[in-house]
Each structure stands twice: as structure tokens, then as C-alpha cells.
């Protein structure tokens, strides 16, 4: 099976998942006791009826759902109930680039630091480097993003004045540093632990001993034989890692005042802005599906067993 066919099959497989996500989030928001126009003061019934007619909320649920899905297929996520002058599509379009820059930056940084740290720890097994790296990793896993973020802002931003604490100006890269580092830290910790464990297990395998017995240099054994196999579990962790980064971005964008999707989602949730929350959740779900697909592709590319299976 060619790579293209593999991608196509995986994308087709994602359609039911996406359908469940859309249907579930739509039904849940319509199940809600109370509507989006419940204010402190009850609206006069005529105005309420007008508002509901304007947003199509007076139609039967099936019709509303049909309209929503038809809109989605055209890339129209409907109007925001609370940001009256914006459509959800506009809010997504403005927030997505910010979130993508931060999320991608955090994932790349985590890969660039986490895997080498894990390799160093595994090679120094039981030694000083190993202890230091693993202690830091356990700490990194136990300290949640919403504790790390204010601490980093306090130390690096307020006390040391190295970096801006909040804000987002196009092209000002110093704004990106704190959010990206904050998001990356727990992922670095996980990756380091995972890489270390997996590499240690691989190095015990008989075929590694065979490679050493053939007289291959340590470097070659490590880089050409052990590492590709040891990285497989790391690759399959990329899906969950992406999910963690996406969830963390809600906190990071709120704390550092970034105009990304996460902050829109939090605002939407606080305002009970149903269409906004649904739209954001659907976009996040699509992002996760795409990232999982990329991780699977990388996995297939690294694992000779899967490669051979597909060629056969």
C-alpha cells in the first residue's frame, strides 16, 4: 500500500470521529437548561423571540443541526452569541495562527531537548547525569503548567526583566519565548523519561549485542541500530503530547495574554457562548486528528516491520 493510500484511508477513518464530535457537541449545547440569551434581567418575550428567530434557534433541532453542518462544510461556524460583531470563523482565523506558532514551537523545542536528555540519561545509567535528568523529569511532570507559567513570568519577567511578561505584537519574537518554554517543559520531562526507558530496554536486546559482537563502533550501534527502534514509543507519545500542549495552551494564552484560540475558548466558556465553544472544540479536534496522522506516518516511516508490510 502506498503512503498516499495510507493517508487517504486514515483521513476517511477520521470522518466518523469528527461526525461524533460535531453531533455530540451540538446535542450537548442544545440539551442545556437555559439558552444563550439568559441574562440577569429576563428579556421581554417578543425581543427574545426575535433574537431566537435571528439566530435560527426557533427551528426544530434537526433543522438547526442540518444548517450547522451545512455551514461547517462551507467553513462557516456560525455567529458568536456574545461577541456580537464577530463570526466564530473570524475568531478562529485570528486565533489559530497564534496558537499554531506557540504549539508547534513548544513541540519542536520539547523534541529537541527531551530526546537528547533521555539519551544522555540512558547512557549514564545510574550515574550523576542520569539522577539529575530523572529528578528534573519527575519534577517537570508533577508541576502543572498553571503553576509553572506564573512562576516563570515572575522570575524571568518581573524580577529579572529578561522577557516581556505578556502581550503579543506581530514580529516581536521575545513574546513567544515564555509561552513556548512553559508549554514545552512538561513534554520535555515526559519525553526524557520515555526515551531513557525505551533506549535502556532496546540496548538490552540480543540484536544490539550481536551488532556489538560484530565489532561495530559504539556510535554506530547507538545511532544506526538502537535509536530508531528506541524512538518508536516516543513517536507514539506524540499524539498525547500534542493533546497536552493544546490543553496547556488554554492556560498559557490566558496567563501571557496571547490572542489565540485557547483564550477565545476560555472566554466563550465563561460567557456560555455555545457556538464559539463548539467551533473551537471542533478545530482542536481536527488539529488532534491531523497530528495523530502525522505521528502515525512518522511511526510507519521509522518501523521497518510496518514499511515492509506495506510494500508487500
Amino acid at each position: 500500500m502506498s503512503t498516499l493510500a495510507f493517508i487517504a484511508r486514515r483521513l476517511l477513518g477520521a470522518i466518523p470521529t469528527l461526525a461524533v464530535i460535531v453531533a455530540l457537541s451540538f446535542l450537548l449545547t442544545r440539551l442545556a437548561p437555559g439558552g444563550p440569551f439568559d441574562e440577569e434581567q429576563a428579556l421581554p418575550p417578543e425581543i427574545r423571540a426575535n433574537l431566537e428567530a435571528a439566530y435560527g434557534l426557533d427551528q426544530p433541532i434537526a433543522v438547526q443541526f442540518g444548517r450547522y453542518v451545512a455551514g461547517l462544510l462551507r467553513g462557516d461556524f456560525g455567529p458568536s452569541f456574545k461577541f456580537r460583531d464577530f463570526t466564530v470563523t473570524e475568531l478562529i482565523a485570528s486565533g489559530l495562527p497564534v496558537s499554531l506558532v506557540i504549539g508547534a514551537g513548544a513541540l519542536l523545542l520539547a523534541l529537541a531537548l527531551g530526546i537528547p536528555a533521555g539519551i544522555c540519561a540512558a547512557l549514564a545509567r545510574g550515574g550523576f547525569t542520569d539522577r539529575v535528568v530523572m529528578t528534573l523529569a519527575v519534577a517537570g511532570i508533577s508541576v502543572p503548567v498553571f503553576v509553572v507559567a506564573p512562576l516563570l513570568a515572575l522570575v524571568l519577567g518581573i524580577w529579572l526583566h529578561w522577557l516581556p511578561v505578556a502581550g503579543w505584537a506581530p514580529g516581536r519574537w521575545s513574546d513567544v519565548v515564555l509561552p513556548v518554554v512553559t508549554l514545552a517543559l512538561p513534554v520535555i520531562a515526559y519525553l526524557a523519561r520515555l526515551t531513557r526507558g525505551s533506549l535502556l530496554e532496546t540496548l538490552r536486546a540480543p540484536w544490539i549485542r550481536a551488532a556489538r559482537a560484530r565489532g561495530l563502533p559504539r556510535r554506530v550501534v547507538l545511532l544506526r541500530h538502537a535509536l530508531p527502534a528506541a524512538l518508536l514509543p516516543v513517536i507514539s507519545f506524540l499524539g498525547p503530547a500534542a493533546a497536552a500542549v493544546l490543553a496547556g495552551s488554554l492556560v498559557v494564552e490566558t496567563i501571557f495574554g496571547l490572542p489565540g484560540m485557547g483564550r477565545h475558548l476560555v472566554q466563550g466558556a465563561l460567557n456560555r457562548d455555545y457556538t464559539l465553544v463548539m467551533g473551537m472544540v471542533i478545530v482542536y479536534a481536527v488539529l488532534m486528528i491531523v497530528l495523530n496522522l502525522l505521528a502515525d506516518l512518522a511511526y510507519a516511516w521509522l518501523d521497518p516491520r510496518i514499511r515492509r508490510e506495506r510494500r508487500a
Partner: protein, 282 residues
């Protein structure tokens, strides 16, 4: 067989000093969360007009200082710990009950029912969970009850998978065959013969679920979507502290330290329990 496994596990845990220390800290934290707010001089929502945002150990009576509104930080943190722990334990219990019964039934029934039940789990698993918990809190309001049901509604998936795997192999054992021959019904076999033999992995995974739930709950409360003022949880206490950290960093440090200690101890204990109860590593 079971008694031997448990005796071995207890012996191995006894030798693990760090795990024991974690267990002791957890017991202490739970006791403090339950009894602490009654033992101290202040109530969690009581305002001390003369001592607002005072630092730890600077004023008698307020051991860990007060927050911006003059509420005792130690009392509030213990109170928030109580709320966070209660939600975490309840949500873990919810996911335990659903996950164990779902997984044990699927594993025992096998075949088409198994495939159908686990396919359902797969679909839920592929949803972005945190985001659906957010939708649920948006829809049903932001109370503690919504929070624990929403978290519990997604927390059972991994448990169901683990339990199913175990149940698949348990159902082939002689004592299950004996029960079938003896005329026991499906529910009785699953309830009396399968589930009790699953306790090891279930306990391990439950221990690892609690810190995850605590993190999700405080994550949402931090964002303002979870527990609301005047009720406290570790999450919204940390949010309060983050807003004041420039001038009064201890308002952040106290609840944050408490949360990190709690999560670390649960994670460490869970890992040690897994090592102790998993006979493969011996």
C-alpha cells in the same frame, strides 16, 4: 495465590522508603484537609480587616499569612485541598464503577458485544477530553457536581481497557468454568468471580487516576471554569495567587506547593504500587 501476591506486595512496599514517605504525606494531607479547617482559629471565608495580605509567620494566628481580602491562607488552602480531594476521589469512584463493570462485562462476554462495547470506548477515547469537559461545564453550569460527573464521564475509558484485558484471560480459568457448571448467571460470575480477581491492577490504576483528576479539576478552576468563589479549590487559589504574585508571592506559593506535593506523592505511590503488584518484574 491471591494472599501470597498481597503479602509479597506489602513486603516490597515496606522496603520502599520513599513510597512509604509518600503514603504518610498523603495520609497527613487527607487528615489535615478533613480536620484542619475546624482546628484553626479562622473560617475559610472569614475576613480579618486588620491583616490583609500579610506574609507568613509575620502575624500571630495567621501561620501562612493571609490573602488580599484578609482570609487566612492556611485555612483556605486546607479547605481548597478538601474540595479538590473530594472531587478527585468522587470522580475516581465514578470512573472506577463504570470502567470496571464495562470492561469486565466486555471481557467476559467476548465476541460481538465486546467489539461493540470497546468500539464505543475507542470513539470516546479519540475525543479531545479536556475540551468536552469544558463543554459539559458550559452546558450544565460550573458546580462541583458537574465537574466531578464531567471528569468521571471520561475517566473510565482507560480503566475499562485495562479491566477488559484482564477479564479476557480470567474467563478462561478453571474457577470460572466451575461457576458456569454450577449454574451461576453472567452477572454473578462477573460480579463474584471476575471482578474480585481484578483488584490489583484496578487499585494501581485508581491511584494513578486520582492525581490526573486533581490536575484536570484545578486546571479548570484555575481558568475560572471550575470551582467558583467563595468556594475554594487548589486551582482557583492558585489563580488568586497568580494575580497577586508581584506583591505577595506567598499567596501563590502556598496552594501551588500543596498541589505539587499532592500530585507528586500520588504519582510516586502509584508507580511503586505498580512495581509491587506486578509479578512480572520479580
Amino acid at each position: 495465590m491471591s494472599a501470597g501476591l498481597w503479602r509479597d506486595a506489602v513486603r516490597q512496599l515496606r522496603a520502599d522508603r520513599l513510597a512509604l514517605a509518600c503514603l504518610a504525606i498523603l495520609v497527613l494531607l487527607v487528615l489535615l484537609a478533613v480536620a484542619g479547617p475546624w482546628l484553626l482559629d479562622y473560617r475559610e471565608d472569614e475576613i480579618d480587616w486588620d491583616n490583609m495580605a500579610v506574609a507568613p509567620f509575620s502575624v500571630d494566628g495567621h501561620w501562612l499569612g493571609t490573602d488580599r481580602l484578609g482570609r487566612d491562607l492556611l485555612v483556605r488552602t486546607l479547605f481548597g485541598l478538601r474540595v479538590s480531594l473530594a472531587i478527585a476521589l468522587a470522580a475516581t469512584l465514578v470512573s472506577l464503577v463504570i470502567g470496571v463493570s464495562w470492561g469486565a462485562m466486555a471481557g467476559y462476554l467476548r465476541g460481538r458485544s465486546d467489539a461493540l462495547m470497546m468500539r464505543f470506548v475507542d470513539v470516546l477515547y479519540s475525543l479531545p477530553q479536556v475540551f468536552f469537559v469544558i463543554i459539559l461545564t458550559v452546558v450544565f453550569g460550573r458546580g462541583p457536581l458537574t465537574l466531578l460527573l464531567a471528569i468521571g464521564a471520561f475517566g473510565w475509558l482507560t480503566m475499562a481497557r485495562i479491566v477488559r484485558g484482564q477479564a479476557l484471560s480470567l474467563r478462561e480459568r478453571e474457577f470460572v468454568e466451575a461457576a458456569v457448571v454450577g449454574g451461576a448467571g453472567t452477572l454473578r460470575i462477573v460480579g463474584r468471580h471476575i471482578v474480585p480477581n481484578l483488584l490489583g491492577p484496578v487499585i494501581v490504576y485508581a491511584t494513578l487516576t486520582v492525581p490526573q483528576v486533581i490536575l484536570v479539576e484545578s486546571f479548570l478552576s484555575f481558568l475560572g471554569i471550575g470551582i467558583q468563589e467563595p468556594l475554594a479549590s487548589l486551582g482557583n487559589l492558585i489563580a488568586d495567587g497568580a494575580a497577586e504574585m508581584e506583591t505577595a508571592p506567598w499567596i501563590l506559593a502556598v496552594p501551588a506547593g500543596c498541589l505539587v506535593l499532592l500530585v507528586f506523592c500520588f504519582n510516586f505511590l502509584g508507580d511503586s504500587l505498580r512495581d509491587a503488584l506486578d509479578p512480572r518484574d520479580r
